[in-house]
């Protein structure tokens, strides 16, 4: 079941904050966040696990609401390097790391 990501696109100036969201209609075991720049491969940012454990990027934070089956990624004091498309991947069953990816949030940071 493909998660839904919102908003589809965000434009912000350097230094501004933004929140992007990922929600699922099925119970989640974990949520992964990846960032992809144009013409490149996706790069891992963060994993949020059921039970509250987080692993990942130091400068980007995220939350995981198990009850609401959703996750949010917080881009704080954005930098030009934050531009790209952010994908969430949701895992519904522990053990196979099989992810369903959303369509992505396109983020553009301008000077």
């Amino acid at each position: 079941q493909q998660p839904v990501q919102s908003p589809q696109a965000v434009i912000l100036r350097e230094g501004e904050d933004a929140v992007i969201n990922c929600s699922s209609s099925k119970a989640l075991y974990s949520v992964h966040w990846y960032r992809q720049k144009h013409g490149e491969a996706p790069v891992f940012l963060m994993i949020l696990l059921k039970g509250g454990e987080q692993k990942g990027h130091e400068k980007i934070s995220a939350s995981f609401n198990e009850k609401k089956q959703q996750s949010s990624l917080y881009l704080t004091a954005s930098q030009l390097s934050y531009s790209g498309t952010y994908f969430c991947g949701t895992e519904h069953n522990y053990g196979n790391n099989r992810l369903a990816f959303g369509k992505g949030n396109q983020v553009v940071v301008i000077p």
């Binding site: 493909q2 491969a41 790069v43 891992f44 991947g89 790391n97 992810l99 369903a100 990816f101 369509k103």
Partner: protein, 111 residues
Amino acid sequence: NAGVTQTPKFRILKIGQSMTLQCTQDMNHNYMYWYRQDPGMGLKLIYYSVGAGITDKGEVPNGYNVSRSTTEDFPLRLELAAPSQTSVYFCASSYDVHEQYFGPGTRLTVT
């Protein structure tokens, strides 16, 4: 450490031709994955493997086959290529249920 490598980078196939996309990782990861990414869409899982000799279908397996005879290699076979298989193909690997590392991708056009 080369990480995940994919060959070829680009390929044009005629309808009905066959080809194999190669994927190799040197991180001793047990899990490997094949995804396809169409423009403006997220990543769709084609096949995955949790270890040598073990493979399983993902979300969109029709028209593809895989094998995993070694830990390092996970080739994807396209039989009887169709225009609907025009896409960017990414191979990824992970150590158990952790972050996935993606290869640079293969851009395939079927005409």
